[in-house]
């Protein structure tokens, strides 16, 4: 209801006298076929069945609308989407999402103020961003959110623009909202950007209540005619992620509740780092390659302990109630993360234009610890200015104990139509 009221308020405001306004519509109509498989995380498809997932077609219709307008000397921006989705055996479900809703004001030519929900990207990497401290999580198949699934953070940002530098200070609402007293997770982020000798450099800091500060640096530069290079580094004392207790050497089995995830107690410096490049071949063929490391991920040893734990659960068959075993097994799925569960990855992206209207792309993410991978090939054909038809697949491969080889999906096939107005 709150979202609906916000949407109405925006529409009313848009009726006020304004200097100018712009709209943008994106329709995304797609069908997916998901193929689940048995794995160490999903024996006999038990977890998939427990979660209510089924092989078969899914349908997702998304209508996105973006509106920017100028009222009372303020620049407003609102991005909304309405989604209707149906999974196999399920019913149609709808959802209204406010992706962005903010106002902005230029102050005195060099200052800018932004307040509201906004998607901000501070990193220079394509697939991963150790210094993207205020942006929503990325999706590997759409890191730049062209399909409008990301939802911004509620924030207040003030930024000063110099001739070749800028300084930004950003306060972010905690998960419970600004007004919730004593809520943890208040964040204050700072970025100093400068272009020095044709290199973009940013120094980033994130201060979060209850956590140690995160310090980061990123850069992007062009070398020669065809090569762009970028990199990011993030450092933080201690890890604030949660881990499966088995990975930390704890043998935990709960009969009433699923296994609680645990934090690491050590206070060493945790490093996230990314180094990558974009290379342009003749014919406008692009290759993006990135190496990414994060200390926060599971080490091969820790991952091995989770696999051992899953085997242990399998050996308990008959000695514990089946539903307890299943709950504990499904809880292990939490080790999977959009950022990758483990520590070292190599991402490659290739884009090949075909004639005037077509494009072939492939994204390949390699887990360097266990040599499993996910491959996302896509073919897209544009029809006129407004329609693009695409076919995409997600292929997960690796040893049965590897991250991608043990993922409960083996193949996703997706066909979609984008309508942009």
């Amino acid at each position: 209801m709150k979202k609906v009221l916000i949407a109405i308020a925006v529409l009313v405001l848009s009726r006020l006298p304004s200097a100018a306004w712009e709209t943008r519509f994106l329709g995304l109509y797609r069908g997916l076929y998901q193929s689940f498989r048995e794995s160490v995380f999903n024996p006999q498809n038990a977890c998939v069945n427990f979660l209510g997932l089924q092989n078969g077609p899914n349908y997702v219709f998304t209508q996105f609308a973006g509106l920017s307008f100028d009222v009372l000397g303020l620049d407003w921006r609102v991005d909304l989407s309405v989604k209707a989705a149906k999974s196999p055996g399920g019913r149609w479900e709808t959802d209204l999402t406010v992706h962005q809703l903010y106002l902005q004001k230029d102050l005195g030519g060099r200052w800018s103020l932004l307040a509201g929900r906004s998607i901000q990207r501070w990193g220079t990497g394509y697939a991963f961003n150790p210094t993207d401290v205020i942006g929503p999580a990325k999706e590997l198949n759409d890191p730049d959110n062209t399909e409008k699934r990301a939802v911004g953070n509620d924030l207040l940002k003030i930024e000063y623009f110099g001739d070749s530098f800028s300084l930004a200070l950003c306060g972010l609402a905690p998960p419970g909202g600004w007004t919730k007293p004593g809520s943890e997770g208040r964040r204050l982020a700072f970025r100093a950007y400068a272009n020095i000798r044709h290199v973009d450099m940013s120094w980033v800091a994130l201060f979060t209540s209850g956590k140690s500060p995160l310090w980061g640096f990123n850069f992007a530069a062009v070398a020669g005619d065809r090569l762009e290079i970028h990199g990011e580094v993030g450092l933080q004392k201690g890890s604030y992620e949660k881990y499966h207790p088995a990975s930390q050497g704890e043998l935990a089995l709960y009969s009433a509740d699923p296994v609680e995830q645990v934090k690491k107690a050590d206070r060493r410096i945790y490093l996230q780092a990314l180094l990558g490049f974009t290379y342009t071949f003749p014919g406008n063929v692009l290759w993006v390659s990135e190496i990414y490391h994060r200390d926060q991920g599971y080490s091969p040893e820790e991952w091995g302990r989770v696999i051992e734990y899953l085997s242990f659960l399998g050996n308990l068959g008959g000695s514990l109630p089946e539903d307890v075993l299943l709950a504990n097994r499904c809880w292990c799925l939490q080790v999977f993360s959009p950022n990758g569960a483990m520590r070292d990855y190599w991402m490659n992206y290739l884009q090949v234009p075909l004639f005037k209207k077509g494009t072939l792309t492939a994204t390949h993410l390699w887990n360097l610890s266990d040599i499993g991978f996910v491959l996302i090939p896509e073919a897209a054909v544009a029809a006129g200015d407004h329609f693009t038809f695409y076919l995409r697949s997600y292929i997960f491969q690796g040893r049965t104990t590897s991250e991608f080889g043990s993922f409960y999906q083996s193949l996703v096939f997706e066909a979609g139509l984008r309508l942009m107005l």
Binding site: A19, A20, W21, E22, R24, L26, S68, D70, D75, R77, Y102, Q104, D106, G109, R110, S112, S118, I119, Q120, R121, W122, G135, D142, P143, D144, N145, T146, E159, F161, G162, D163, S164, F165, S166, A168, R191, Y193, H198, D200, A220, A221, V222, G224, D225, R226, L227, E228, H230, T278, T280, N284, L286, V288, Y349, Q351, P353, T359, T363, D385, H386
Partner: protein, 264 residues
């Protein structure tokens, strides 16, 4: 990665290269603040540029039309913000490219696509994309990248013209050589020829229409033809000029993302 995907495709589709080429001429000449090569070269460039930039900082609206063998292929409208010789921001106003921003500052270039939330650095080769592109388009700042030298007279389009050879003085200059033909009496450009480092003629620009603005003539229409693919032409019509004080964030890559495109 649709960003790069669209980056290349959209630059190609929009003919932004062509526009940026033209804007580079504007930027190069933004009045009075142009640091120029010393001596005659600087004086020549100053005279040539006098027909292109009405103000040190201004807003410009441009219609770009691409044709092939005389048949219109595409047309698009762009807004441009120019500040001095080294800064320009181009925003696409129409069609699927609407909201796309191309920023050039001091030899560096970024693109921001409306579907995304971060600007991307563009390599010189990516800047080459587009049928109407002309090498490292937005770096074609004459005063920064080239030295000028007169090399005789020639009749061009019925007018007696001085032949001005622009030679790259920066390694990063997109063209080894540009040959300009300007009217003998006042240095008003009539034609330009752009050459690749190999010496091959790449593009030819015709400066077709000048109109008075605040007491002096300003270029309002030019056509660029592709000498490698005969029959392909792009026409740029400069629809309006407005003297502006432009906020600093328009020329900072971090200011692009939240920049409203609805404000002309």
């Amino acid at each position: 990665m649709r960003v790069r995907n669209r980056t290349s495709r959209r630059i190609e589709a929009a003919g932004l290269g062509c526009l940026a080429l033209a804007l580079a001429f504007w930027a190069a000449s933004a009045a009075g603040e142009t640091p120029s090569p010393a001596g005659d070269s600087a004086e020549i460039l100053r005279k040539i540029d006098a027909f292109r930039a009405p103000y040190p900082e201004f807003f410009l609206r441009v219609r770009v039309t691409s044709t092939e063998n005389g048949r219109m292929e595409e047309t698009a409208l762009f807004d441009a913000y120019i500040s001095g010789p080294e800064k320009s921001l181009v925003i696409a106003r129409e069609h699927a490219n609407r909201g796309m921003k191309l920023l050039y500052v001091g030899g560096d270039m970024w693109i921001h696509l409306p579907d995304t939330h971060r600007p991307l650095r563009i390599t010189p080769m990516q800047r080459m994309m587009g049928e109407a592109s002309n090498g490292d388009i937005a770096r074609l700042s004459l005063t920064e990248d080239y030295a000028a030298e007169e090399s005789g007279l020639k009749e061009v389009d019925g007018a007696s013209c001085r032949r001005i050879v622009l030679t790259a003085v920066r390694e990063s200059a997109p063209y080894h050589r540009v040959v300009l033909f300007v009217r003998a009496e006042n240095y008003r450009a009539v034609r330009a020829e752009f050459y690749l480092p190999s010496g091959k003629l790449f593009k030819t620009a015709r400066y077709e229409e000048y109109k008075p603005l605040e007491g002096r003539l300003i270029l309002t229409k030019m056509t660029i033809s592709d000498d490698l693919r005969r029959g392909r032409e792009t026409t740029l019509e400069y629809l309006s000029f407005e003297k502006r004080t432009i906020p600093a964030r328009y020329f900072n890559k971090n200011g692009l993302v939240d920049l409203a495109i609805n404000r002309p």
